[in-house]
């Protein structure tokens, strides 16, 4: 079975970022970059599926600048078999990324596409669903459990008020949520070892037509500084005074 896992290079989610002074973009100078945490969970799940059922080939793909190699190498170190870097400086939005990935999926014909439910930089939560639509595959988003059989997957997904279990035939697409698994720790030796795994560089198959563009960024409105209270009774009387209790 073939599994395709698209991954995105994002600024480390534990780093505090600010807008650039001129509002033209996000200041990421000096920040670390990582695999988008949800995509990392997707890579981990693909590896666990292989560990469980055997004959699975895992391809990871990233679209972007040359630096994305760092994240692809990490995914290889986690256990992916090969990586594709679609190298481009062009501007993409979710829909144009989905189209580029659709072109690749049409070529590779993976039974399963596993990816993160959203990227922690743009927080869009769109590409998985758009890609599934472009490929006319059924989708299961927000997955917290994936079970693979010979004909498809059974996915438990988190919903707004509980959970839902869907059964999808291959070919299909699943997006990972936080509780699907905890990605394994990869040390430096693992990353060095992954250097010998194949990483193919290519140019995009499509020309991105951007329909949504960020024109300005700013800091969110600041909340007024609060204060500490010294006791429960002080707290309760303030809240009563303000009509909150």
């Amino acid at each position: 079975m073939k599994v395709l896992v698209p991954i995105k290079r994002v600024v480390d989610p534990y780093t505090k970022v600010r807008p650039l002074a001129d509002g033209s973009g996000v200041d990421t100078s000096g920040a670390k970059f990582e695999i988008n945490p949800f995509d990392e969970i997707a890579v981990e799940e693909a590896v666990r599926i292989r560990e469980k059922i055997g004959d699975v080939e895992i391809t990871v793909v990233s679209i972007g600048k040359s630096e994305c190699e760092e994240q692809l190498r990490k995914a290889l170190a986690m256990g992916a078999d090969k990586a594709i870097l679609i190298e481009s400086d062009a501007e993409f939005d979710s829909l144009s990324i989905a189209k580029e990935l659709a072109a690749l999926a049409t070529e590779l014909q993976p039974e399963l596409i596993l990816m993160g439910k959203q990227a922690t930089d743009d927080d869009c939560n769109q590409v998985g669903q758009m890609l599934a639509a472009k490929l006319n595959r059924p989708q299961a988003t927000f997955a917290s459990k994936v079970e693979v059989s010979t004909s498809g997957v059974t996915v438990t997904r988190e919903t707004d008020d509980g959970d839902e279990t869907l059964s999808l035939p291959f070919p299909c697409l699943v997006t990972a949520d936080l509780r699907l698994n905890e990605p394994r720790y990869i040390g430096l030796p693992g990353i060095i070892k992954a250097r010998s795994k194949p990483l193919e560089r290519r140019t995009p198959a499509t020309t991105p037509v951007v329909k949504v563009r960020v024109v300005r960024v700013e800091a969110p409105p600041a909340r007024e500084a609060g204060r500490k209270v010294s006791s429960v009774s002080e707290l309760v009387s303030i809240l009563k005074d303000r009509g909150a209790l």
Binding site: M130, E158, T159, G162, S167, V229
Partner: protein
């Protein structure tokens, strides 16, 4: 011609949409997938689909592909369910899409939070139609007006996915996204029983809802649907009480619109104190029963 279609998954979405529609300033129609809607929200038409059950996203997107004809804007209240569906529809119908709109500069320029709410981006939409999800808290409800025309629609929603089971939790407490008071707990709550007794106990006393951090949900202390934050629920109550919560960027992303934030944490240097209106340095196991006594 510019015209907005709001797709409501449930009747409460319809009411929550009126403010957004008024801010956008376009004539609008409402498509109710389930249930009925109030008739005086300011929209021209109410189109009822009368579905008993929301089908999987691929089926729903197929079913609605024709219904969006003639609209320049297609919008849903932000939720996991609406994101699952609307991005699918955007893929099917090749639409631009904007997630989690919190402000409108013009019918093609919107504000939305990015990077766990640490930045507000202004995005421009360069093609029409556009699909979007929005957070109702940013859009004050207008006065009710008008009477809408009612229509019904039959949707064919063929899906390749099969629903094996659905479980809906919840119960007597108010819904997180509508609640006036929320009591939330984090990692130190130990286990589900303690969480329910301590956090649930205070919430019930205040007639409020319960929320939790990712850490609490991951460790099985609290159910997934009450996670608050970047990738959970976005809430805007009058009062948010955070007990045993450190104040990570990802959690704070979900509570910034609360009117009053109270933090109870035994670490005086916990980051949540920088954002809370009132901070109490205390052990939550002492403070919460004391609060209950005080208000009794």
């Amino acid at each position: 011609m510019s015209r907005l279609l709001v797709i409501a998954f449930q009747p409460s979405d319809a009411v929550a949409s009126a403010g957004f529609a008024a801010s956008l300033g376009l004539p609008w129609d409402l498509l109710c997938l389930t249930g009925a809607s109030d008739l005086d929200l300011g929209n021209e038409k109410i189109i009822s689909a009368n579905l008993d059950l929301i089908p999987p996203a691929d089926g729903l997107a197929t079913g609605l592909a024709k219904a969006i004809d003639g609209y320049s804007h297609i919008a849903c209240v932000s939720s996991m369910q609406s994101k699952d569906f609307l991005a699918r529809l955007a893929g099917t119908s090749d639409l631009a899409m904007v997630t989690d709109v919190v402000g409108i500069d013009s019918p093609t320029t919107f504000k939305r939070p990015i990077v766990a709410g640490s930045i507000i981006a202004t995005v421009e939409v360069l093609s029409s139609p556009v699909a979007m999800t929005f957070r109702p808290a940013g859009f004050p409800k207008p006065a009710r007006s008008g009477v809408s025309v009612q229509e019904s629609i039959t949707l064919e929603t063929p899906s390749k996915a099969t629903i094996v089971s659905r479980s809906v939790r919840g119960g007597a407490r108010p819904d997180l996204s509508q609640a006036k008071v929320i009591v939330s707990g984090g990692r130190p709550l130990k286990d589900a029983e303690t969480f329910e007794r301590v956090i649930g106990g205070l919430a019930d006393k205040l007639g409020g809802a319960i929320g939790a951090t990712r850490a609490a949900v991951d460790s099985g202390i609290a159910p997934n649907e009450i996670q608050v934050g970047q990738t959970g629920k976005i809430v805007a109550p009058d009062l948010y009480i955070a007990a045993g919560i450190s104040g990570s960027t990802q959690h704070m992303a979900g509570i910034k619109d609360s009117k009053i934030i109270v933090a109870i944490n035994k670490d005086p240097d916990a980051p949540i104190f920088e954002l809370a209106d009132y901070g109490l340095v205390a052990d939550l196991y002492d403070a919460i029963p004391a609060i209950q006594n005080e208000i009794a």
